[in-house]
């Protein structure tokens, strides 16, 4: 029977690491020339978008789940106007936007301190007839982001948001996105 101490920690490389056989198999099948063409055709993703996403995933794995220091989104939007697509400034702001607007409004209305647990993050577990679930990677691969004052008027308060979702157990409803938001 499997026990927790038999499972390697994904973030700590052993002293004498053996290569992952499964990873080699994934690489072999996915990144052959034919496999790569097939994958691109199947997903229909823009190459630039995919490469940005890939890089950020490679760097972060699942270690830390908070993006700190998100800029005020009003100046963020102002900053993007007139910035040529593909420029380094554009890529920077796009990445910032993805980090700090994880659900792109899909939790609209389901945002507030009521979704926060006692730990200050999105509730996780059953409370009464509602089941909550923290979404570990909805925010460009992390769960949480923090808006900080950045000196631009009007000043928003510093807030922290943590993504999750919930469903009503009594009626077996679908999962609905929600966001825990509270002053820091």
């Amino acid at each position: 029977m499997l026990s927790l101490d038999q499972i390697p920690d994904a973030l700590t490389q052993p002293a004498r690491p053996e290569k992952s056989f499964v990873r080699q198999q994934i690489l072999a099948s996915a990144f052959t020339r034919r496999g790569l063409f097939r994958a691109v055709a199947a997903t229909g993703m823009a190459i630039g978008l995919a490469s940005l996403d890939g890089i950020s995933r490679l760097r972060r794995a699942e270690a830390v789940t908070t993006w700190g220091n998100c800029p005020n989104w009003h100046p963020l939007l102002a900053g993007i106007y007139g910035v040529p697509a593909g420029s380094s400034a554009y890529k920077f702001w796009t990445l910032e936007w993805n980090k700090c607007n994880p659900t792109h409004g899909s939790a609209a209305g389901n945002i507030g301190p009521g979704f926060c647990g006692s730990d200050g993050f999105h509730r996780n577990g059953v409370v009464g007839s509602i089941e909550y679930d923290r979404r570990p990677a909805s925010c460009a691969g992390r769960n949480t982001w923090a808006w900080k004052r950045n000196g631009v008027e009007p000043e928003p308060p510093d807030v922290r948001c943590s993504d999750g979702r919930f469903r009503l157990l009594s009626s077996g409803s679908a999962w609905v996105n929600s966001t825990c938001k509270h002053p820091m």
């Binding site: 029977m1 994904a10 992952s20 890939g54 769960n143 009503l168 679908a174």
Partner: protein, 250 residues
């Protein structure tokens, strides 16, 4: 409860898992991002997209009626399904735009009435071709439209264990360590501790990699410290797959 799940993701991939014991309910959810095929460079890419949520038909009714105190504002029958717009009777609560087929439905949130001026609820589904079937709903770009549809996650809840998130292996390679994981019948498994902040609570997640799928297991809240049930589940899994294109738009 069954030993097998089989689900067609909205991009046509077959998502399936097989275990030695009965763990599964055959119900999966998915999240989609729909973006213009050509991004205009004037706004962040993400701001030009729409997020849609797929679940079983009728799954949003309790949300609409119990939670949002909503009523049906518009309803339009179309071949293969119907469009429904729910509006809340409360000004501070949002509405829902819904495509509902015989087996599944696709939802998009609408802003509260006060903020919804100029927003076309049907626009959330424009440019899409939707084909519903018992094992999944296929969402693709309509022939005349220029949108890209991307599935961000497909998830399945396993009672008493937690949430499973299935990813295509090539897209999730960054989650798979270069060093060997613990061998289990379906592949290799690693654990990872997740901290929300430096001083935040620590949670343990599991990553299971097979040549056909990468699966993240997020244990249910209140899981025992040694994660016995989660480990028994991982050991019981015989096969996971989320890579093969099983269906194309007709």
């Amino acid at each position: 409860m069954s030993k097998h799940i089989y689900f067609i993701a909205p991009d046509g991939r077959a998502v399936q898992a097989r275990s030695a014991s009965s763990w599964f309910t055959n119900r999966c959810d998915a999240t989609l991002i729909v973006q213009p095929a050509t991004l205009n460079g004037k706004y962040p890419d993400r701001a030009q997209g729409r997020e849609l949520h797929v679940t079983f038909a009728g799954g949003y009714d309790p949300i609409a009626f119990q939670l949002l105190d909503a009523h049906v504002e518009q309803q339009l029958t179309v071949p293969g399904g119907e469009f429904i717009v729910y509006r809340s009777s409360r000004s501070d609560l949002q509405g829902l735009a819904l495509w509902r087929g015989p087996y599944h439905e696709i939802a998009s949130w609408l802003p509260p009435v006060a903020e919804s001026e100029g927003i076309d609820p049907w626009g959330r589904f424009s440019g899409l071709r939707i084909e519903d079937a018992p094992d999944g709903v296929l969402v693709t770009s309509a022939a005349e439209s220029a949108v890209n549809v991307r599935v961000t996650d497909v998830s399945n809840y396993v009672e008493g264990v937690g949430m499973l998130y299935f990813y295509a292996p090539a897209e999730a390679l960054g989650r798979v360590p270069t060093f060997k994981g613990r061998s289990v019948p379906s592949g290799e498994v690693w654990r990872t501790t997740v901290t929300d902040l430096d001083d935040g609570p620590v949670q343990t997640h599991f990553v299971l990699a097979s040549p056909q799928s990468v699966v993240s297991l997020v244990p249910e809240h209140g899981a025992a410290p040694k994660y016995g049930r989660q480990l028994a589940f991982l050991e019981s899994l015989l096969h996971v797959e989320s890579n093969a294109l099983a269906r194309k738009a007709s």
